[in-house]
Amino acid sequence: MRLTCPLCGTRDRREFYYSGSEDYLNRPAEGAPIEAWDDMLHLRTNPAGVTKDLWYHETGCGSWLLVTRNTITHAVLATELVAARKGGAA
């Protein structure tokens, strides 16, 4: 498996650390009910198909990536820098 780091290009999977679902990027607003936090922290959809998750380019440039991939075909469909998203670098 190879992931395309937007900065470094196509790199081997062993350079990356898998963090988890993209849900971690969507924090509930301040004062949100406890259920919203429970959702963000614990509830996952586990799709057979396209999924989005967070990877860290650990032995590379140190960027966090949002990777879109297909769990059935193992195709990596897209990668983007978390820092380049709105509010990502904050």
Binding site: L7, G9, R11, T59, C61, L81
Partner: protein, 172 residues
């Protein structure tokens, strides 16, 4: 403070040459990390006289991450613009040059290091085996920056790869 004798990580180790390819410790002198504060990239670029594109080397500036460079040699005053930290004592440098350099390193790095794909002045932060490293393509080989504590392991890994390639050439 008395004047202490600085010893490099592989102090006293003689260069190793196998099949015309030489592995040697390199002395890179002062090594400084410059990590740009948010929104200060333009000013840092001006002060440093440039800023390398990702995975490239520009003069004495080595790209090591988003808005981060390693500087070889003296660094201008960047107060308020970037986090500047002296890295000199924390790193060891190895230089591998000769016809088998790329082949030997491709046994350890998950990268295509042939000259067509990794030309001079390309650099990469990539794993040498399981070790973090910075790999820089030079005119006739590679400069490898590795954590000082792992210098002897890195040497051993590269030496093993060179021996394997040499044995292979001899067998044909």
């Amino acid at each position: 403070m008395p004047n202490l004798i600085a010893k490099s990580a592989l102090f006293g180790r003689a260069p190793l040459t196998l099949s015309g390819t030489t592995l040697a410790e390199a002395q890179v002198g002062t090594l400084t990390s410059v990590a740009v504060f948010p929104g200060k990239l333009t000013k840092v670029k001006k002060t440093l006289g440039g800023f390398p594109a990702p995975n490239t080397v520009a003069g004495n500036l080595i790209w090591t991450g988003p808005e981060q460079v390693f500087v070889l040699g003296p660094v201008p005053d960047l107060t308020g613009l970037a986090a500047v930290t002296d890295q000199s004592g924390g790193w060891a440098a190895l230089r591998l040059s000769g016809p088998m350099a790329a082949d030997a390193l491709m046994r350890l790095y998950p990268l295509d290091l042939r000259a067509a794909h990794f030309p001079k002045d390309t650099c990469a932060r990539a794993p040498l085996g399981h070790m973090q490293s910075i790999l820089i393509a030079e005119e006739a080989g590679f400069l490898i920056l590795i954590f000082r504590s792992m210098a002897r392991t890195a040497w051993h890994e590269i030496e093993t790869a060179l021996h394997a390639l040499t044995a292979r050439t001899a067998a044909i």
